[in-house]
């Protein structure tokens, strides 16, 4: 029983982390049809900014709970700055070009942003453990669990609910849905697509940065931090269906739970199972589990 509870919790914690990181990627793809490789850089910048500021705050004698405010601030700051810089500085000039070129542009941006991290933060890892230590641990399933890790589940629920409310219950959400459904028709209806793109890209960047900032207190934030996460995020959004928020949630759950089961029962398969799930889904549903409906054009 303890093992079953532990597998479930481990799976949910990892799924939550994956969902927070990949939801930004899938929103950007859904609205803008851009496979944004620079998303890994948003994640890394979020982590570095949060870790750096939490360290500063600790040295200045701020209370440890201030770290939570800093995490949120870092995500907003990084999303606003990098999202706007990339969208206005590079992507807006490429929307009419081939999708492959846009992917290459985001890949180039990712490499540049990774190198800028080295210039700004140096090569030494950053530790921002204060929020994690503050929350301590709880006994669940017969073992100690870090409470901070469990809060990821709550954060993922907040992000998922927020996305759902925004998409279904706000005017902005309806505008986004219209662009996702048919961009050209939206333009002809007078919708300001440029504005939608700016907001969407910045919001996606904020989610990427939030994932990095929130995970920063649990890891050693080191150069190259954003590389692996982009591969995992792609796996999640491919499983769920590119551009679908519920799909990202289901994809994250599938990957997280299957991986947790593998680590506990067949640890030698840990690396294999994530991509096995992805391959299986692609065989039976190449568009992913929840891909948005495509308009049939005549």
């Amino acid at each position: 029983m303890d093992t079953a509870i532990t597998i479930l919790l481990d799976g949910l914690v990892f799924s939550s982390y994956l969902f927070i990181v990949s939801v930004g990627l899938t929103i950007i793809f859904g609205v803008m049809k851009i496979l944004n490789v620079a998303h890994g850089a948003f994640y890394a910048w979020g982590a570095y900014t949060a870790a750096f500021l939490i360290g500063l705050a600790a040295n200045a004698g701020w209370p440890d709970w201030a770290g939570f405010g800093i995490i949120l601030f870092s995500a907003i700051l990084v999303g606003l700055v990098l999202g706007l810089v990339l969208e206005r500085g590079i992507l807006q000039f490429m929307y009419h070009r081939d999708e492959v070129l846009i992917v290459l542009a985001t890949f180039g941006s990712f490499l540049v942003l990774e190198d800028v991290i080295l210039l700004v933060f140096g090569v030494n890892p950053y530790f921002a453990f204060q929020p994690m230590v503050l929350l301590g641990s709880v006994q669940l399933g017969g073992i100690a669990r870090d409470t901070y890790g469990l809060t990821l589940i709550g954060l993922a629920v907040v992000v998922a609910t927020g996305c759902w409310l925004m998409l279904k219950r706000t005017r902005w959400g309806k505008l986004l849905s219209a662009v996702i459904y048919d961009r050209e028709l939206s333009v002809t209806m007078g919708l300001d697509v440029t504005r939608v793109y700016i907001v969407t890209f910045t919001l996606g960047a904020m989610f990427g940065a939030l994932g990095g900032a929130y995970i920063a207190p649990t890891v050693s934030v080191a150069p190259g931090f954003g590389i692996d996460v982009i591969v995992l995020s792609f796996a999640v959004v491919v499983i769920g269906g590119m551009g679908s928020v519920p799909g990202a949630m289901i994809g994250a759950l599938a990957v997280g739970l299957v991986r947790a089961l593998a680590v506990h029962k067949f640890p030698q398969l840990e690396l294999f199972v994530i991509y096995a799930v992805m391959a299986t889904v692609l065989v039976f549903r190449p568009e992913g589990l929840f891909a948005p409906v495509k308009v049939r054009r005549i």
Partner: protein, 432 residues
Amino acid sequence: MRQLGKLALPALVAAALAPVMMPAQAADTVKMSVVAFLSGPAAGPFGVPSRNGAEVVIAAINAGKLPAPYNTVGLAGRLIDAEYIDESGGNTKQVAEYRNMVEKRGVDVALGYISSGTCEALTPVAEELKKLTVYAVCGTPRIFEDARRSYVFRTMSHATSDNVAAAYYVKEHFPKIASYTAINQNYAWGQDSFRDFDATMQLITKARSSAKLQWPKIFQGQYSTEISALLLDKADLIHTSFWDGDLEGFIFQANTRGLFKKKKAIFTVAETSVYRLNKLMPDGLMVGARGPYGAIVRNRGSELNKWLITAYKDRYGQYPSGPAYQYAQAVLAVKIAYDAAAKAAGGFPTQDQVSAAMKGSSFESFSTHVKMSLGDGHQASTENGYGITKWDAKAGELKLEKVKFYPADCINPPEGTTSVDWIKGGMQGAKC
């Protein structure tokens, strides 16, 4: 004026091209490429101290200020012209970079390399290009066990000695350990490390391995699920060869969840974090430095050791960790070989004369005695040591207690035997 212009143009072109057409280095220097991780997750704990260790010794060699008997200027009288190269980017990039170093920039010595994977990829290329290449760190024993080498050397022990010594240390300090599990990175380094530890434990103790060993991907960063599995595992001990940012992330995450209060743990490379994490590192961890280096030998009183600690601390404001020692040792080995070869040749030596001098050599390094006694004289054999972390509140720093060293002949396979065969054959000939 036109005539002057006609003459001036070729002269200007010749002047502009002159640096390109000249040999890659001035004749009175020895060009050395020092390769270490200068970016990526391994840079902070490993690459930067490695680079610094090489740099401080190169500066002292060029100034003739190493302690006696190494206080002569340069390599066989010639100054070292060092360049520092980033090891990040994977094996393909490193092979291309190595070819550039040798074929385009004309380096005389390639020195360094931390990753076992990179060393394995480079070795055949180094042999093909016939260039003196001195590995400072990389751990896999396969480099010199798979084939005889002519131009490649490694100046510290390979990973087998780390794990054999780890098993001895566990047996001596925690004889009641009945079972062990492990978490190692899923590539050659992690797999070879556990293989040697497991085989030695089975040979010298009655402890048995858990059926569920954790093999996360290198640079994974998050180990929440693996830590849960380790907590649920009934084994008494955890073995890990984690290094770089993975090591420090794992320590943080596991410590928060009380893993080290529930189980003993032996870290074969965690000395690299002793100075970096300091109070953040929990008490009671068994840590090694992949040899007698860094915090493990902090109290050794030899002149060479005191010099390295002082020179490094003066220059970088911190104590040298294991990788700093290991790179410093590699540079020192090159100096000793050049000087010995020059003495034998009666003038500045050729590369073959330097290789011959290094092959099978034996020398006093900063913290230990090094014998190039394995791999047909190309692979070093040294003692190895472990200690247990303990916060010293009075001194305000993390220290290692119960430090124990194991002699080279106890923990290294004899010449001509592979590590696996030696351990499985009962470690015949070991002098402990």
